[in-house]
């Protein structure tokens, strides 16, 4: 795991019952990188973001944050674990020694059965998991999330929204948290709203407060799921401005959005998703000006 990879998604699958929503997504996000995800509605963008902080449990696949594993180990992603399994030994005894073909076959046909794979396999799984594991709540505390519908805590004032998590999780004392809270609110010009309840704010104000609420936890990366889609058009600008300011300040960001202007200006990399896979990935210039995949071209023609 090289140090500059902050978030790493490997072979991510997500099924809802029989509905296959993510079909093997892999992507790395480096520290300081801004990744924008575009794609048609229903292509799995939200599901991918929600898997990244485990609001959804991935069906298969691994998610790594700062070199530590957030999900259970996916044995199919590790050849040495496959090799330690009884299934591998049985097949190699019967079918001969082509290691690569065997591993491919086991993976493709989903042949591993946790319980029956023997002690070596279990020990390896355990060691792998134990050595690298980060628990879900600590991971979430390091990963900020901004929702389409803001999701500010309605029963708490703006300031309480900003201080609840840092204080509860003992990141800061109440005084430190409030000091930081005022600093953040000043940054978005809403310090006078510290003691009001969210219901009195406009949509744009709510979303800006939601963004600084995630900042109050000093996250390593912030995930944005269509942060401007629920806003009246005149409020989109103020939210995008704040996001640009964050980007300029070096925050690592992963943004699902339909704001192509924002993507072009801010993104280091644009991912195009369709049918639960990443079909195209490149710099904004590459993806917007000379898309390689016909599906990307089609999508861009429809939205631009």
């Amino acid at each position: 795991m090289s140090a500059e990879k902050l978030l790493e998604i490997r072979g991510l699958y997500k099924n809802f019952g029989s509905l296959k929503v993510l079909k093997g997504v892999s992507c790395d996000i480096a520290r300081g990188e801004k990744v924008v995800i575009i794609g048609a509605s229903g292509s799995g963008k939200s599901t991918m973001l929600r898997c990244m902080n485990l609001l959804e449990n991935p069906t298969f696949g691994e998610i790594w944050l700062e070199g530590r594993l957030l999900t259970p180990v996916d044995p199919y992603l590790h050849n040495d674990i496959i090799r330690a399994s009884r299934t591998y030994r049985r097949l190699s005894a019967r079918e001969g020694a082509d290691d690569e073909a065997l591993i491919k076959k086991i993976r493709a046909e989903d042949l591993l059965h946790e319980r029956n794979e023997g002690r070596d396999y279990a020990a390896l799984m355990r060691r792998f998991y134990g050595d690298n594991y980060m628990d879900t709540d600590s991971a979430r505390a390091r990963i900020g999330m901004v929702f389409q519908h803001f999701n500010l805590f309605n029963n708490l004032t703006v300031m309480e929204n900003l201080t609840l998590a840092p204080v509860r999780l003992k990141r800061k004392t109440k005084e430190e948290a409030e000091e930081k809270g005022h600093e953040l609110l000043k940054r978005i010009g809403l310090d006078d709203k510290a003691d009001v309840y969210p219901s009195t704010l406009s949509g744009g104000q709510k979303q800006r407060v939601a963004i600084v609420r995630s900042l109050a936890m000093d996250p390593q990366v912030i995930l944005f799921d269509e942060p401007t889609s629920a806003l009246d058009p005149e409020m989109v600008g103020e939210v995008l401005e704040l996001m640009k300011a964050l980007a300029d300040a070096g925050m690592t960001m992963c943004v699902v959005t339909h704001e192509m202007g924002f993507a072009r200006e801010v993104a280091d990399r644009v991912l195009f998703m369709a049918d639960g896979t990443i079909l195209e990935s490149g710099t904004p210039a590459e993806v917007f000006d000379s898309p390689k995949n016909p599906r990307t071209r089609q999508f861009l023609e429809a939205v631009l």
Partner: protein, 218 residues
């Protein structure tokens, strides 16, 4: 007047028991079903709620009086029989009131809490429950009011305190009506007026609490 006291005592005891059962059942119903024990408890809660809501209160009272609680029945003071029976009855309704109150809160509130790294329990306590209380209070008072009136069915069983037979509000009206049939209707009206007074008092308290909760916002 003593009979009003017994009616209220039974209702109060039942509310307390019902509330405890209701909270427990609601917690079981809404908490994540991650292990077989939780799943078994959940199935039990569903069964309990279905049976209690699906059968008349009077039938439940008579069944409990003549079966499980039969040992209380022979004691010199048997007030616990109706208190437990109405408590068990009310618990099912309260469980549903609490559960639906919590479910009425947008899932985004829980997701926002979890995405900040707060635990399920902390998010419940600090964010979901305070919002749910506003939804739950009116329905809860409604249930309490119904319960107060429904305690009148205890006149079907013999209440004993210190081996002496005692009466609830309606039971007293019935008894006096048997003694002086000419005034039967007047006794019934008196009982009705007393029930009404209690309910109006409860309604007053309810509005007071609702106003207080509302002030806590904006």
């Amino acid at each position: 007047m003593e009979s009003l006291g017994y009616s209220l005592l039974i209702a109060l005891g039942a509310v307390v028991i019902g509330f405890i059962i209701g909270v427990a059942m609601a917690v079981i119903r809404i908490s994540p079903k991650t292990n077989p024990v939780m799943r078994a408890l959940d199935r039990f809660a569903v069964l309990y709620i279905t049976v209690i809501r699906g059968t008349p209160t009077l039938v439940q009272l008579l069944i409990l009086y003549n079966s499980v609680l039969v040992s209380f029945k022979s004691m010199s003071t048997n007030l616990l029989v109706p208190i437990i029976a109405f408590g068990i009855n009310s618990g099912a309704y309260m469980a549903e009131i609490i559960r639906s109150g919590i479910c009425s809160i947008d899932v985004g509130q829980m997701e926002a809490g979890r995405s900040l790294g707060l635990s399920w329990l902390t998010t419940m306590r600090r964010v979901i429950i305070p919002q749910a209380i506003k939804v739950v209070v009116p329905a809860m008072f409604n249930e309490i009011i119904i319960l107060v009136k429904e305690t009148s069915v205890v006149s079907y069983i013999v209440l004993k305190v210190g081996s002496r037979q005692k009466y609830d509000l309606l039971g007293m009206a019935e008894k006096q009506g048997l003694a002086t049939p000419a005034c039967y209707l007047a006794f019934l009206f008196t009982a009705a007026a007393l029930y009404l007074a209690v309910v109006m008092l409860l309604t007053f308290v309810q509005h007071h609490i609702e106003r207080k909760l509302k002030k806590n916002e904006r």
